[in-house]
Amino acid sequence: MKRILAILVEDRPGVLTRVSGLFSRRGYNIQNIAVGRTVEPGISRMTVTVEADFVTLEQIVKQLNKLVNVIKVSDLMEEPSVGRELMLVKVKAEPNKRSDIQQVVSAFRAKVIDVSPESMVMEVTGDEGKLNAFILMMQEFGIREIVSTGKVSLLRGSKVTRDIRT
């Protein structure tokens, strides 16, 4: 099953290596990772999507908690949460295809952020399903390059990650 972990870490050099190294050496599979700031100075938040059964997930959480720079690990699938991923897509865009592309862009509520004589770059955010669908639509125009952030997630409602009991 797919789980999304929010990991609060001290913002120190090497923390990402400690976390990703732990996943690889214990044979856990990271599908997706995003790292960024939090509202508290000195603390970063990693959002990690992993594919793991319940027993493995428990081990992952416990092993992460053993890292001295890890402050808190929360499983965001335990509670209702919202998640988004941001993706930039560069497609071939001959002038005669642009309006077709533009239609797909509007249908997905994506944005065109760069246009050149032969290509366009789009920005699209959403969950995995939406991004996959967008890729599928763009394939017919010819995708040159894709880049995406990892997924980031927050709990729904007023509750914050720090409130989750672990």
Binding site: G14, T17, R25, V55, N65, L67, V68, N69
Partner: protein, 558 residues
Amino acid sequence: MRMTGAQMVLAGLEAENVDVVFGLPGGAVLTLYDAIYQKGLRHILTRHEQGAAHAADGYARASGKTGVVIATSGPGATNLITGIATAYMDSIPIVAITGQVARPAIGTDAFQEADITGITMPITKHNYLVKDINELPRIIKEAFHIAGSGRKGPVLIDLPKDVQAEEGQFEYPQQVEIAGYKPTFTGHTGQIVRAAAAIKKAQRPLIYSGGGVISSSAHEELLELSRRASIPVTTTLTGLGSVPYDYELFLGMPGMHGTYAANHAINEADLLITIGARFDDRVTGKLDSFAPGATVIHIDIDPAEIGKNVTADIPIVGDVKYVLKELLKRFKPADTRAWCERVLAWKSSYPVSFKQEPGCLKPQPVIEEFYRLAGDDVIVTTDVGQHQMWAAHFCNLKSPRTFISSGGLGTMGFGFPAALGAQAAFPERTVVCIAGDGSFQMNSQELATAVYYKLPVKVAIINNQYLGMVRQWQKFFYEGRYSQTSLAGSPDFVRLAEAYGATGYRAVRPEEVTAVVQKALNTPGPVVIDFQVDPEENVLPMVAPNTSIIEMIGGEGF
């Protein structure tokens, strides 16, 4: 107070009551060693950094204090790795201080540069690269705190050369505040109550305990629980010594080379009280058939050990000593008489034994005799292999911290330097290293250290002219194809000892053993005894890997 980084290290070591360090200098720690020269600190110079790391480990295992090792950058630091990994696997507190190239040179592939914090991330509890002199006092404090608390383990501090020379303000913190490090010390009361209830209900309970009991000094509580509740005990290799060998309900070691009684008791137990042990594969054999009928209580300070290999029915995260004290207040004994009778019948019917052949020097009686003559206060260290298992079976251990052996990592070459560390901790006690001829040659250069520092370790080399345990596996599982396990070409160990200024003796016949051992024990200074034993003796009983631990080869003796 203003001082240099190097002086801060020494001030920190003093504040942590470090009375001896092990190490070997080099370019990137010159400033630190200059401070040692000026201030004075008991420093034991080994001949190889690996020896220093194992010595710090042996010091820690014998004394219960945190061992300290110093090495230079690059190769000095990488030579510590086996020692750090050994300590990590057995949860031994050591602080390793390595030199690093100066900050501006980091990342440029400078001379003797190695990313030792990167390299040791998977084998340290935590590590630090000091980039700011102002952080050094806090880092030293944290390093000792992390190494010696919770589930203990090695911590490395990488100290660039220019930071050692830089001046800063030294104020040693009184308190440690680390947001992400708060080990659970007290066990959950509700779970302890459940454990007590399970003990009351159990008809065939068994205690399976490990190194955690020694680490938290809980051997008295362990024995009290076993006595008062009449529950037999088996202890893992790293737990050996926590229960006296002659305690009636002690069954010896479980697992691959476990005793018949221990393995069968695990197999038939209805309650397995796991205390500071981690269900290592060398203990469990095939996991599916391990303790198949048992409710499992698992007491451990590391939450990640619980549920890792075996699902615990009653998990208790906490310090073993604390939890056992609480458990002792609450439990009511069940009637285990029938069970104990059964287990004790196994124990007396199928002790670990060996076949004596006339005129042939067998390894087991050598170890037995050495241990007997060495006296009650002896500390034994071992290397890794057949002799290690024989030592585990035939040393009649009486107290904790007297059997020092690399369990988790299984590090050949560990025993001799570890013995030097133990001897440095206890100069007045007899320290014996039971070694193999293969293992001893992995760190025999430390004979120079032993002689120079007058560390009178007695090394018993169980010399079978093979990498014996590997040969045994080749015999059992590879149809006797002895690929690269003959150690023909080894030196004359007597003359090797003499070359270093130590004493060497040799025994080749059974009737020589007692006299040679006595002579060795009465000889001042380090002694190496070359016991030329039966080359093809096997460690029995044995359980083939990944099979049930009751499928024992030689379990019922001869």
